[in-house]
Amino acid sequence: MIAYENATKRYGAKTALDALTVQVRSGHVTGLLGPNGAGKSTAMRLLLGLDRPTQGGVTIDGVPYARLKQPLRAVGAHLDARSCHPRRSARAHLLGLARHAGLPAGRVDEVIEVVGLESVARRRAGGFSLGMGQRLGIAAALLGDPAVLVLDEPMNGLDTDGVRWIRSLLQSFAAEGRTVLVSSHLMAEMHQTVDRVIVMGKGRLLADCTTRELVASVADVTVLRTPDLAGLDGLVEALEREGMSAEREAPGTLSITGGSIERIGDLAFERGVRVHSLSSTPATLEEGYLRLVEDEFEFRRAATPAGETVAIGGAGR
């Protein structure tokens, strides 16, 4: 388990991480989400002891990274596709890390096989594509067969097969009771991969909940199309009386939230509004995430004095 305790990091006048207190649980794939500059990478760098916290700290099963007896066996991490000498071969890069960590050289060949780089293992890493670079980074993360896996944007540059491979890798790790923390901007992909989410904004924690809870915070949207423009006003009134909200997207098209597709169909029928199509789109992680982030920044712009922490959305549900 990873525990952030009041972790704060300032770079000069800029606060990259603002008193983050959160736990990343074992047995789950946890997604770290947030807009650019939210502090995701800083949070990962503090975890790995690469940056020193200004205040507070991070521990892995109670121990800060720098004091882990066998760091690569405890935590495998891949932060940056560019963290290898371009003129060094993939194998030599991994071998250097394995030797530092006291891992057997045979383990290097094993992870090269796991990530599928056997044919290029002796080639210079500088000639690798972004996807191959990602695989090399993931190989380095897997070297110590770690109990905690931390990956920053691992799906960037991977093809569909690669993305599916990462997804099953992460899920199998979590199923074995290990801790997995992964950040990505690919929301659709994260929706399928992670079962818990930590959402950050401007260096602070916005939400820490299950993926399902965050998705449930956004209502499903039902889209109704009708040629009956005259009956539309009456229908909108009827919908709103029942606590739904309806927005006119285009002439004859309503976007309705807050009600079931059956009830919407019944109301249209009762009012004699002819319906051409009625479809419901399930809410996505992307919508839940965007709602949370937008609400946060809207709210802060409108009302909050700078520096005050706001609890919002699915947090703690």
Partner: protein, 242 residues
């Protein structure tokens, strides 16, 4: 520590540039010594020096070694500056978060490279100087073996200084520039001051110059600078973000 040593040794030779710089160092020292010896003999034949003047082999070796320190700086600094320029330092610190161990491993590898390349460069330099000076060489005060050992020791100490500078400065160009100033540029200072600098002390140590104080003190001066830089590097490495 043994692990860090093995890791850094393997990493050093998994890229070509350190090896190329070391070979350049050896060639540079030998060619410069030969060239200086040849210049002297040529000067004699033109009557620039009185007939019968002789020159010590160490006097052609000293400037040649000082020249070679520049390419050796390039070789030794690669161990650490290339990690910063490529971002691989983050992988290294993940594998070994005790940063002092990483610095010590790199330093020991650099010292080993320095001693070996210094011995080879010194040996070839003495041979090249002796060959070109031939009958015009002044009798040596010390055996060739002692002279070679001086060059090897100097390169070993300079290795510590360079790796420490690399850890402090992090950029390759910056480290090379500062190395150039410390190891050669400071010769431009008045001799009474320059003898206290690595540049002034290095050449005088190789020639076995015992003026002012015993020549071994000159190695200690370079070692003092190296120790100060190493201490600063250790503190900075622990404090700074990677």
């Amino acid at each position: 520590m043994i692990r860090a040593l093995g890791a850094e040794w393997g990493k050093t030779f998994s890229i070509l540039s350190p090896l190329l710089c070391l070979i350049s160092t050896v060639v540079l020292v030998a060619v410069t010594a030969a060239s200086l010896g040849n210049d002297f003999v040529h000067g004699l034949s033109l009557g620039e020096h009185p007939a019968g003047t002789t020159m010590r082999v160490v006097d052609v070796l000293g400037p040649a070694v000082q020249f070679g320190l520049l390419t050796f700086t390039a070789a030794a600094m690669t161990l650490i500056t290339s990690e910063y320029s490529t971002g691989s330092i983050r992988s290294t610190f993940q594998a070994q978060p005790r940063r002092w161990v990483v610095l010590a491993g790199k330093t020991l590898v650099a010292v080993a490279l320095g001693v070996v390349s210094g011995a080879v460069a010194g040996g070839l330099g003495v041979a090249a100087g002796s060959l070109t000076l031939a009958g015009h060489a002044a009798p040596a005060a010390e055996s060739a073996a002692v002279t070679v050992a001086r060059v090897a020791a100097l390169f070993g100490v300079v290795a510590v200084l360079v790796v420490a500078l690399g850890a402090i400065i992090r950029s390759a160009v910056g480290t090379l520039s500062v190395g150039l100033v410390l190891l050669v540029g400071m010769l431009a200072m008045p001799p009474s001051m320059s003898v206290w600098t690595p540049a002034g002390a290095a050449g005088r140590f190789v020639t076995g110059d015992g003026t002012d104080y015993p020549s071994v003190v000159k190695l200690l001066i370079v070692a003092g600078w190296a120790a100060a830089a190493y201490a600063a590097a250790s503190v900075l490495l622990e404090r700074r973000d990677a």
